[in-house]
Amino acid sequence: MGATLLRQARSFVLNNTLTLFFAALVVLVAIIKPVFLDWGNIQSILRGAAVIGIVASGMTVVMVAGGFDLSVARVAALCGIVVGLVNGHGPVLTILAMLGVSLAIGLVNGTLIAKAKVNPFVVTLGMLSIAQTLTLVVSNGRVIRNLDPWLISVAQGDVGPIPKAVIAFLIVAVVCHLLLSRTQFGRHVYSVGGNLEASRLAGIKVDRVLICCYVLVAVCSGIAGLVLTSRLSSASPVAFPGGELDAIAAVIIGGTRLGGGHGTILPGTLVGVLILAAMNNGLILLGIDPDWQGLMKGSVIILAVGVDILQGRRSGRIRG
């Protein structure tokens, strides 16, 4: 019994290094700047986390399956522009258009990766460029303003004490989390990410699993685009710069392994997203020049992957 407890304690510390890091970060900043824990400030941290969090939720599923997607931020911007163009026709058509565009992109990404076996880096880097061009062409390179009030009310304002954008994030995160942790599809995602060939030989339709993953992350990006457009009251063709890297960073900081097979959305990616957002906010509160923020972000990512590698070595040692 004692040995089991010890093992559980050890594995808790090992598996939750980042949650513990997050707790330390919060405590540290809160001690220096108590305003950090004011509800107003927490709201602003959460608002900053929402859009990245929506993308990161879908990204986690893809990365657990052993892939990743560089096109997410440009897909989000493209969907934002599409939303900006058609929102005059009402919510139903707008959402259908957003879903249509993101579904199509996800299908193309997934099919090329799963069926044609093109490297995900190559496919999604290509898609990044294609989506970027489409966005510029469709928008004529201009920012779209004059959005319908319904669209603006989607993600602006609060429900009770909680910002609407955060609620959107939580809904997406919970849905993705349930898909990943509770369904047969999710189990197949872990299996494919853990050992693709063994999964295929166990009768899993590996291609279908992978395509579904890429469709899911593209749809999450589409939703992110809609929320972003609503929050900013405008659709910009260059919206969400560097969003793909922030999303991937959040997933990695949240403990998802680059090689696939391991990772969670709740708590993993949620914590990753919060660490990034809280860190940005904390650095501003501490009066550190925003130019320096990238340094912290980079260090945390490397730290996260370092922990990942240390854990990997550990299990390697057991295997002998």
Partner: protein, 513 residues
């Protein structure tokens, strides 16, 4: 000069190698004299490759010691072994195909101006390579790309490099498996050149007829131990006897002879996979059929093609008389087939998941309600499998990659058997697992046969095939060459079936081409 006893260049003393759950080598001792060729024989898993890995610096023994010319050595890398004078020519070439012969010969030893970043002196490189080739006396051109050479040519490059490095011991790992008869003769000539220069050669092969041609002694390994040593000209029968062992073990339990009755469970008609085939056979309910052959022969692709792990080019597969539209593992699994590949780590285990996830992988619908997996149902289901198949772990939550090989294998069997398949295809079902787990796997296979399942076993372990199978089909590279049934299924008969036809094949090849 003939009375002079040659120096002992290599001595292996009581060397052992253990992996978790597996004893690959168990206290092996042998000596190698300058200028001799010893044949190293044994079935797959007997410990040959483990020994080669240790001698070539790819792994270290867990016990015992290795002495070179009386001096104790310990290699931490292949470079160490090479520097100490042991050169190994592996089955798969270790050369760089897009470099020239000269560049490969001097790889890592290029004449350079200045330090590591300095330019290579090309003329000097070519000159030194030519000198090495002249010294070896092999027909090679320094400017040819290694990628354009035949397998035989590449081996000559590797041998030239070994000579140039002043290797005292050369290990050849199944060098003739990809060679024609003519090329084999050429290789033997090259080996004689090495021994004339006082180099000792360890020659690993499956082809018994080669042994008498080239080897002065034969060392046979079995189950990680030295089974015996014979002179090179010993009759093949004696060598086979040593390879399979004499003890007719109780490992396989009592068997009731299989009596064919009724329509076949599985019919394979004109199955073609690349050059292999057409293959035709039937499998009855409750029958255990063995497919045997040398490494790289047709038997390896047949089980895979039936299951759809690789796509067959032509052929019909009927289950209970009904043709099956197969071609993918998913379709085959749905139709009632199960398949366990030879490479357990690559093709079976999902190392990132727990035992539970691995056990339920093929049976998720049975423990789900709609799309959702019912956690409690899954736990009960997998706990049941764990008990039924005697998988030793601290619980179903134990990570799969921390289980021993034997327990992993039982888990993979359990994963499939939970789907109640009708035809079970097993490749090397007990490869690299300990004797206790072996016994349990054999018991499971016998019970499946009793339940009326059809079982196909693809194995290179003759004793295993003999102990398990009611019928055996032997294959050479491309097609079936013989069949054994009932009492004729003995380890000796199986080995001669594969070996004789394997060698007949190489002799025929130049005419066929």
């Amino acid at each position: 000069m003939s009375v002079e006893v040659p120096e002992i260049v290599l001595e292996v003393r009581n060397v052992g190698k253990r992996y978790p759950g597996v004893v690959a080598l168990d206290g092996l001792s042998l000596q190698l004299h300058a200028g001799e060729v010893i044949g190293l024989l044994g079935e797959n898993g007997a410990g040959k490759s483990t020994l080669v890995k240790m001698l070539s610096g790819a792994s270290r023994p867990t016990s015992g010691e290795i002495l070179l010319s009386g001096r104790r050595v310990s290699f931490s890398s292949p470079t160490d072994a090479l520097r100490a004078g042991i050169a190994t020519v592996f089955q798969e070439s270790m050369l760089v195909p897009n470099l020239t012969v000269a560049a490969n010969l001097l790889l890592g030893r290029e004449p350079i101006v200045g330090g590591w970043f300095g330019p290579i002196r090309r003329a000097k490189l070519r000159e030194r390579a030519q000198a090495a080739i002249d010294h070896s006396g092999f027909e090679l051109h320094p400017d040819q790309l290694v990628g354009d050479l035949t397998s035989a040519g590449r081996q000559l490059v590797e041998l030239t490099r070994a000579l140039d490095l002043d290797a005292r011991i050369v290990i050849l790992d199944e060098p003739t498996s990809a060679l024609t008869a003519e090329e084999t003769a050429g290789l033997f000539a090259a080996v004689r050149k090495l021994t004339d220069a006082g180099i000792a050669v360890i020659y690993i092969t499956h082809r018994l007829d080669e042994v008498s041609q080239i080897c002065s002694r034969v060392v046979v390994l079995r189950d990680g131990r030295l089974a015996g040593t014979l002179p090179g000209n010993a009759p093949q029968r004696d060598i086979v006897q040593l390879m399979v062992g004499r003890e007719v073990t109780a490992l396989f339990g009592p068997r009731t002879p299989y009596a064919r009755g009724g329509a076949p469970l599985l019919t394979v008609k004109d199955l073609k996979i690349g050059k292999v085939g057409p293959v035709n056979f039937e499998l009855g309910a409750g029958e255990v059929l063995g497919l045997v052959g040398l490494l790289g022969a047709a038997q390896e692709s047949i089980g895979r093609a039936i299951f759809g792990a690789s796509t067959p080019d032509a052929g019909v597969i009927e289950l209970n008389g009904k043709p099956q539209a197969l071609g993918t593992p998913a379709a085959a699994a749905a139709a009632g087939f199960a398949f366990l590949g030879a490479d357990r780590q690559r093709e079976g285990v999902v190392p990132t998941m727990s035992l539970r996830g691995n056990l339920s992988l093929c049976s998720l619908p049975a423990v789900s309600s709609g799309p959702f997996i019912l956690s409690r149902a899954e736990k009960e289901f997998t706990n049941g499998l764990r008990t039924e198949y005697g998988i030793r772990s601290y619980g179903v939550s134990q990570p799969m990659d921390t289980l021993s090989g034997g327990n992993q294998q039982k888990a993979l069997l359990a994963r499939w058997l939970a789907t109640k398949p009708q035809v079970i295809i097993l490749e090397e079902p007990t490869h690299g697992i300990d004797i206790g787990a072996k016994e349990e796997v054999y018991r499971i296979i016998r019970e499946l046969a009793k339940e009326g399942k059809g079982i196909i076993v693809v194995s290179s372990d003759a004793q295993e095939i003999a102990g398990l199978c009611d019928r055996v089909i032997g294959f050479n590279r491309e097609r079936a060459v013989g069949e054994l049934t009932g009492k004729d299924v003995t380890p000796e008969a199986i080995v001669s079936l594969t070996v004789q036809h394997g060698t007949a094949e190489t002799e025929k090849e130049p005419e066929a081409a």
